[in-house]
Symmetry: C2
Subunit: 247 residues, 2 copies
């Protein structure tokens, strides 16, 4: 299907470059993440074509994903079935925990860790000065670090700007606009259209959330469209329902 | 009076070099801190002589303190009266708040401040990393700083060592030994001996507390003799009573 022939909702959601291999990862993550689940070549063709992707681009993407160990395939007669490898499934599960979580994180307890070794990095924490890291939840048990835990945190703009660079802030705002446009359109008439809208929305959302750490809202800039996007994504997925494999 | 002729208690308390001008500041701070109070030259001579200080050393000290604006004097006939200047009184009041406070500080609330300018210094706080400061009590209201407040603090050894250098740690231990020795001696028989013991003890204590910041005990090394000294000082001053100006 030519891009110009796509519905306004689909066009809004696939604004910007759509990397086909990455979109196929989104499809597997949304529709065939459980062990034993698979998608036929014909199903993938129908879904990607409805999103304006050419057959050759799908073939190239599948080839690349197989080569990189994300998916595997089995042939039956003239058809083929594709499924996530163990590695691919692990990645998809990890991502899903963030992609489909539309609740804001508002911790009751924060901690600051100051380490004597200024070059050290503390995973899962926000660096706020050399050797100094901010986290939430229970504090790490480190005898060689100064650790203060407490409920009251003031976050200045320079920390927020560090957590969320301008280009990502801009991409969130663009995505929020696209979601509003889609929700302003009539509900899709066909299962295929609904599924493609869902997959493109999940894909756009996935590409945003995986570019920033999973942090409480308090650490993001006021201008960040994340909370709005979360609500609109929940509304849209609610309207569209679960993905339906074509044919 | 020759040093060798002094009582064991006074000898123990004046161990090490006794800077006469500094001891005279201690005398004024302990005996004549209030506006209008003064000490005669004869009284100062009697007190310092009983501490083993030569008359010429007292004259030099008084000259220096006058020149530096700590004290002023008025002559009456052949005698003189000395008193703290406004400047000297302000310094003495500030020091007294720490010298005569024998209560441990155990705050219920701590805060860590992280400033974007790593070269900035936050007065009244302990530097724990470049631009990062630890404090207790209510947190400063700084919009450009990350500030976390809370009750739970873990302090590692490297912070404690930084707060209390080895030589100061050693001097506290020496002073505790001297106080134990003095309290092991019989109570002084005369008012003058009691007053001199008191002044020397306050002087030794003053020289320790003014060399380290006023911090909660949790920030000092375990080996720090501060809590022991505090208790012994309170016991000794209780035994000796207030200073009495000689005849």
């Amino acid at each position: 299907m030519d891009v110009a022939a796509l519905s306004p909702a689909v066009q809004a959601l696939r604004r910007g470059e759509l990397r086909v291999w990455s979109f196929v990862v989104t499809i597997f993550g949304d529709m065939a993440r459980a062990p034993g689940q698979e998608l036929s070549g014909a199903q993938l063709s129908a879904l990607t074509e409805a999103a304006g992707i050419k057959p050759q681009a799908l073939r190239t993407a599948l080839h690349r994903l197989r080569k990189d160990g994300w998916i595997d395939s089995r042939r039956i007669g003239r058809g083929a079935f594709h499924f996530l490898t163990e590695h691919g499934r692990a990645q998809a599960e990890q991502a899903a925990a963030r992609i489909y979580d539309f609740d804001a994180v508002a911790p009751e307890e924060w901690h600051l860790v100051v380490m004597p070794d200024r070059a050290r990095v503390l995973p899962g924490h926000v660096p706020v000065a050399p050797g100094c890291f901010l986290g939430h939840g229970s504090a790490p048990d480190m005898t060689d670090a100064l650790v203060l835990s407490g409920p009251d945190l003031c976050v200045p703009d320079w920390v927020r700007a560090q957590v969320m660079p301008d280009d990502l802030l801009h991409d969130y705002a663009e995505f929020e606009r696209a979601l509003r446009l889609v929700l302003g359109e009539p509900s899709p008439m066909s299962d295929l259209e609904a599924t493609v809208q869902r997959l493109l929305a999940v894909h756009g959302w996935r590409r945003l959330v995986l570019r920033c750490p999973a942090l409480p809202d308090l650490l993001y800039p006021d201008a960040w469209a994340g909370p709005g996007c979360r609500q609109l994504m929940a509304d849209l997925l609610d309207r569209l329902g679960p993905a339906t494999a074509p044919g």
